[in-house]
Symmetry: C2
């Protein structure tokens, strides 16, 4: 870890940022027999044909939701966040474990509503909630959800693999999520599974921290640069270009395909998903190329 | 959920207790294609010979560790707790995901020490840390660890399956864990794997909430009663019988085998694990039988 040092000789996490922290953690790991994924961990399960896909994520009171937020929406969001990472790697989620950390003074009714939200979200994608843990806390509520599932070897896709000249597409609309969508979104699992069955997707991820933070990650993982046409961004109603780039929590797909596949993709998509927009927003370019529209950073944890 | 109602018409979790909460959650689940485990979830992974085993657990500041506790010991405990559940079902842990929820004001050095503890614990059992998430919190530190692995169909064991007349054994010593062991224990995975390879284990679990809370769970899952000889309990140095029954965090194995297998088990155990005691403490009996030594309850969350 090589963060800058504060005056008192102690580096605070707020000075490091999440990418740096995670990178430093991954660097320190012992060699794994397995591939380390980015959105999900994608692994060999001994003796199995398909790959094992794992993801854990959490929501924290006063960070990801307010104390006044409807508990069933909190549950929905807590389940859908890791499922959006399954969309990112085109995997099928199967099982969820839930860790609920909640003050003993909280009402049982609140917890019941929370589980209703978790169950409704899981049921939408056929995910079975197979276990859970609870703990008390003297502080904010935390809900952590771990999901496991599978992806066929041939359909596994990651942030790496983008090729120079690839067209970049995003699904749906960007920006304005914090006005409500972030509690009610539906992860693009169906769209993602359709994509890897019908198109050669070179690289893909879900947009959780905002295009301005996430697109550079996809480009970096693919060892490429990028250019985008800001005016082409599909803006959510009332959202500005800045909102679309920086707000985060869009939970849309960003992916790269060869320009040769573009016409066929767009035509087939319109037929399959007439209500979901698919927008070309730019392309992957040589890493040394001039970037005409540098993106402002999206949401970065701890900052 | 049928808890008693408080005067203000709102039931608090502290009035419900963890078993009731978890039971009510499980009752509300949609039918799963899979077995719902108790210590771990033990599941079919499509197209695989072995069963998929999943477990998530967490440690929370001021609940499971103090702010002053050495961070590497916190990491050790956070990893070893779910691994103890793998011991309970005789499974082999393979992959871990870590969710770290920590105030932005916390030092990066603390986090580095925490990860060192997590990594040392994982390495002891060949577990690969394959991913993680981080989040800020305005409150106590939370570390959630999700572990996946496998168990051979023939060696899978659970709390259910105990037979009337079975002898009950515990490994190691009970009580006094909170004086230090709870931060340094080594889950009984090697012992558990040896047991299911060499003995017909009818039912097994790990002792995390204290014998007084956990043994009734094993008996109930096996639809049996139990009797124990309190004076036979293997007490940790300085621990009383009450400590051994009620304190919790022993992370020892409790298991049931036929009395016919007892002599062979005890002889082979002494040879294989000369430094780990194995103590017969009682037996499983008909559920309607008189229980001469009712156990005080062990640690129950939220109470």
């Amino acid at each position: 870890m090589k963060p800058s040092r504060s005056a008192r000789g102690r580096t605070r996490l707020s000075e490091v940022g999440e990418d740096t922290l995670i990178a430093s953690i991954l660097r320190g790991l012992p060699n794994s027999r397995s591939l380390i994924g980015d959105d999900c961990a994608v692994l060999e399960f001994r003796g199995a044909r398909n790959l094992l896909v794992l993801k854990t994520d959490c929501v924290v009171e006063n960070i990801h939701f307010r104390a006044s937020t409807d508990a069933s929406l909190v549950g929905w969001k807590a389940m859908m966040r890791p499922l959006s990472d399954f969309a990112a790697v085109s995997a099928v989620p199967q099982f969820a474990l839930i860790t609920l950390i909640v003050p003993a003074t909280k009402s049982a009714l609140w917890v019941k509503k929370l589980y209703n939200g978790l169950k409704r979200a899981a049921a939408l994608f056929g995910v079975a909630i197979v276990g859970g843990e609870t703990s008390a806390i003297r502080g904010p509520i935390v809900i952590s959800v771990s999901v496991s599932g599978f992806v066929e070897r041939k359909r596994s896709v990651s942030r790496a693999g983008g090729k120079e000249g690839d067209d970049l597409f995003v699904t749906g609309h960007l920006g304005g999520s914090l006005r409500g969508k972030h509690l009610k979104f539906v992860p693009r699992i169906h769209e993602s599974r359709w994509l890897t069955e019908n198109v050669r997707v070179h690289a893909m991820m879900d947009l959780s921290d905002g295009l301005g933070a996430d697109l550079p990650r996809l480009a970096k993982a693919s060892k490429l640069g990028f250019k985008i046409d800001k005016d082409a961004l599909p803006l959510a109603p009332g959202a500005s270009i800045d909102n679309a780039i920086s707000e985060g929590e869009d939970y849309e797909l960003l992916f790269a395909v060869s320009p040769r596949d573009r016409p066929r993709l767009q035509k087939a998509w319109r037929k399959k998903f007439p209500k979901v927009s698919l927008t070309p927003i730019g392309s992957l370019i040589h890493p040394s190329s001039f970037i005409p529209h540098p993106l402002k950073r999206g949401y970065v944890h701890f900052q």
